[in-house]
């Protein structure tokens, strides 16, 4: 058997290739990013792969290709699905021809996200089937099933792994790939591909009928299942209680049950929370008095079971998030599942406090040593000292500019909202200077329309474009400003400067943020005038460029004032024996500390 050690995201990417996918689009977002990267890496040239400008564009491109009969996959994180919601909701009514799988990765915790939204709920809302894998191995096989169902029922389907599936690795047994099918081509039929109220009404009826039928069909789906009770001792407290679960929580449940030995309860595993496999769930509940539901994010399976009990007058008590027996936020773990199960089955509580630990330093994520964003934030902070200014931030590495000592992100909402939140703040408080900070990839993804709005409506804001020549936070993906595509082509770079000028931004200045003097001057000038003014702070991310010669602190000259540490918060610097010290393995030679030192004690940078 051909086995490969794969990360869940690699398993999904390779699973799609092995399902004969023709086109893959997406927008980077943790924890989904490596799926598309895997397809691009393993592509023999027969698959079209692109990082689209945002999730909405990605989904629409895939829809078009699917109309023509291609198998397509779109990848994004859960909040990306909010951006793609407009085409998705309509596409559910229009349907597809070639199989189309929308992968939206959920992030219980959340570990790297703004929300703990549950894509299974989104699937219910959009009336679309959703597949929820419980391991990387299952994800590999399930993505193929997802294509099959999509094609059979002419509908896009949602595939929603969670972080612990995306970023877990396992040895995955690979199956024989399905060869790419010849694409039939787009067949014109405006009664099918053009959405109108009448068509929506007709298709709505069909959608509801299909989903009703799928409840039955999915009850025998291979990854929905009912595992019978085992080794029952006749203990009355443990009889007639079952566990319902799905996704990553299934693995935690199995892990806990593997320690039980006897009285192993029946387990209902739900891989398709929508349409819900009702006949299977009814069969499970038939012999039970109580069910505990273990799932992450929203109580989706739990509500379905409560509903079924009502619908069929079943005297089964359902325990879970709705009853307060399972925590309603954050991710599950073997420990949390162990506690929930111990309670309901009257078992000994697992030990969780194994040691009392001494006080530990907290370690929030920070901007890297040498990160040009630190210099950009510091320049704006210096220029605005003593002035009434508000700094609206956005999603990316530069969100970390909120941390002390920089403390330069006053708001952060979602992709692109820096530009528009700043406008709202300025409308009602015009005496403040409103800055908006946006990264280069975010600028293209969702910043441009907000800037058009600011120019059109004559708002006074200062736009700060943090152009580090990459999509840094998600692992350095190319974007329209980098001149590279995922097919390996070198293409024309789209100029941020020319874009801003074309929109009508009054002044656009490009500065290297590591030249603090010039940067501070540029910020002061831009903030003095009315209208929309922009500064492009252009310096590459340290991960896509090589280090400059390093800097060191001259011990004799350093007066121990701590200005470098107190104002910059560079992780390469700390105090030792009342002097600043630069850790050479972390220093990138950015020179910012040397520019800040009041006694010129930091030297280096000479080639």
């Amino acid at each position: 058997m051909n086995k490969r050690f794969l990360m869940g995201n690699e398993a999904i990417g390779i699973g799609a290739i092995h399902a004969g996918v023709h086109l893959v689009t997406g927008y980077p977002g943790t924890p989904s990013t490596e799926i598309l990267e895997t397809v691009a890496r393993e592509n023999d040239g027969s698959i079209y792969v692109e990082w689209s400008v945002n999730e909405k564009a990605a989904l629409e491109i895939a829809a078009g290709a699917s109309y023509a009969g291609a198998r397509t996959m779109v990848t994004m994180k859960q909040v990306g699905l909010n951006v793609a919601a407009d085409p998705l909701m309509s596409l559910a009514y229009v349907g597809v021809k070639g199989g189309m799988v929308v992968v939206a990765a959920d992030d219980p915790g959340p570990i790297s996200s703004q929300t703990e939204q549950d894509t299974r709920h989104f699937a219910q809302f959009a009336k679309l089937p959703v597949f929820d894998p419980s391991s990387p191995e299952e994800a590999y096989l399930m993505i193929r099933d997802a294509f099959e169902y999509s094609e059979q029922y002419h509908t896009p389907v949602i595939f929603r792994p969670v972080t612990r599936i995306n970023h877990s690795c396992a040895s995955v047994a690979l199956e024989k790939p399905i060869p790419q099918r010849k694409i039939e081509g787009f067949i014109k039929d405006s009664s099918k591909w053009v959405i109108f109220p009448r068509l929506s009404y007709q298709n709505h009826i069909l959608l509801e009928e299909r989903n009703e039928a799928l409840k039955e069909v999915l009850s025998s789906y291979r990854f929905n299942g009912l595992e019978p009770a085992k080794n029952m001792t006749g203990n009355p407290d443990r009889m007639r209680i079952g566990i319902a679960t799905g996704g990553a929580s299934y693995a935690y449940v199995k892990e806990v049950l593997s320690t039980y030995g006897e009285d192993i309860p029946p387990v209902l595993k739900v891989a398709t929370a929508h349409p819900f496999p009702e006949p299977l769930a009814l069969k499970f509940m038939k012999e039970l008095d109580k069910v505990i539901v273990l799932e992450e994010l929203d109580p989706v399976i739990e509500r379905e079971l409560v509903y079924l009990c009502g619908k069929h007058h079943l005297p089964v008590e359902i325990y879970g998030k709705l009853t307060g027996d399972v925590k309603n936020a954050g991710e599950n773990s073997v420990e949390s599942v162990g506690i929930s199960l111990a309670k309901i089955f009257g078992r000994v509580m697992p030990k969780t406090e194994l040691y009392s630990l001494p006080e530990l330093p907290v370690r929030p994520p920070v901007l890297c040593a040498g990160c040009p964003h630190r210099a950009s934030f510091y320049a704006v902070k210096t220029a605005m000292k003593g002035k009434k200014a508000v700094f609206s931030g956005d999603i990316g590495c530069y969100t970390l500019g909120n941390a002390k000592p920089l403390d330069m992100v006053d708001t952060c909402l979602c992709m692109g909202a820096d530009v528009t939140v700043a406008q709202g703040l300025h409308r009602v408080e015009p005496d403040a200077i409103n800055f908006s900070f946006i990264g280069d990839s975010t600028f293209f993804a969702s910043g441009i329309t907000g800037i058009v709005n600011a120019v059109y409506n004559e708002t006074d804001i200062v736009l700060i474009i943090l152009d580090n020549a990459t999509t840094a936070m998600t692992g350095h993906q190319p974007h329209p400003g980098t001149g590279k595509t995922m097919m390996g082509a070198i293409v024309d770079k789209i100029s941020i400067e020319k874009t801003l000028l074309a929109i009508g931004v009054k002044s656009v200045v490009t500065v290297d943020p590591l030249d603090q003097k010039a940067s501070v001057m540029a910020v002061k000038k831009a903030s003095e005038n009315t209208g929309v003014h922009a500064i492009i702070f252009k310096a590459p991310c340290i991960a896509v460029t090589s280090a400059s010669p390093l800097y060191t602190v001259q011990e004799d000259t350093c007066i121990g004032c701590m200005k470098c540490i107190r104002e910059l918060g560079c992780p390469a610097m700390h105090m030792d024996n009342k002097k600043s010290v630069i850790e050479p393995s972390l220093c990138f030679g950015c020179s910012l500390c040397a520019q800040v030192c009041p006694v010129d004690a930091i030297k280096g940078g000479e080639k």
Binding site: K3, F5, T30, P31, I111, S112, S135, R164, H167, S168, C169, A170, S171, A248, Y250, A251, Y252, K254, E255, S258, S333, V334, E335, G338, P350, K351, T352, E353, L354, Y355, L357, P358, L360, P361, V362, R363, P364, P365, V366, L367, C368, C397, L400, A403, K404, P405, M473, T474, G475, I565, R566, G569, C570, P571, M573, H574, M575, P584, S585, L586
Partner: protein
């Protein structure tokens, strides 16, 4: 048979490569492997943890508390933070150099490696403290800490992988031009 190894440190220290090397070696040996890693925002100087589990009958990629056969800690405070994962009688390999978080520097914290190591000495019988900085210096690269710690962990035998199996994994996975210094680092703590 199963083995649980937890690797912990600070983003950027190379924990992910080390966990991949263990996983690769175990896989070459025909064992079932599961791992889970910290990828994303926390990588930027935050706490990072990698779980590596080998053997049959493993469901979750995360190691349950009190179940790690060995913890490979790249930083003393992170070693302490992850101590609840160590099972009774488990091994711990810990690098002795503290990385001071910037928030601690700002707050004038008295965090030192010694305090953490003293705590560990009182709790972990099978503790091995490694002077990673010295090994890196002798190898001429600050990037070999992960392989050095891996050498120390391999020598305990608890990974259920032989020195040869681990070396084969390093040869297969580390780029040719860095191979010699990684081998030197690996052998430094044997």
């Amino acid at each position: 048979m199963s083995m649980n190894c937890l690797l912990c440190g600070v983003g950027g220290q190379g924990t992910v490569l080390a966990s991949r090397l263990i996983a690769y070696a175990a896989m070459q040996k025909g064992l079932e492997v599961r791992t889970a890693e910290t990828i994303g925002m926390a990588q930027r100087g935050g706490c990072v943890v990698s779980h590596v589990r080998t053997g049959d009958e493993i469901f979750s990629s995360l190691i349950p508390l009190g179940s790690a056969d060995v913890i490979i800690a790249f930083e003393p405070a992170e070693a302490v933070r992850c101590l609840p994962y160590l099972k009774e009688g488990g091994f711990m390999i810990v690098n002795d150099k503290a990385i001071m978080p910037i928030s601690a520097s700002l707050a004038g914290s008295d965090y030192t490696a010694e305090k953490m190591l003293d705590f560990l000495k009182g709790k972990v019988f099978n503790l091995r403290i490694i002077n990673g900085e010295e090994i890196c210096k002798s190898c001429g690269s600050s990037k070999v800490l992960n392989v050095a710690l891996l050498g120390a962990a391999t020598s305990t035998g608890v990974l259920e992988l032989s020195v040869e199996e681990m070396k084969a994994a390093i040869k297969a996975r580390v780029p040719e031009k860095f191979l010699a210094l990684n081998m030197k680092a690996f052998e430094a703590c044997m």
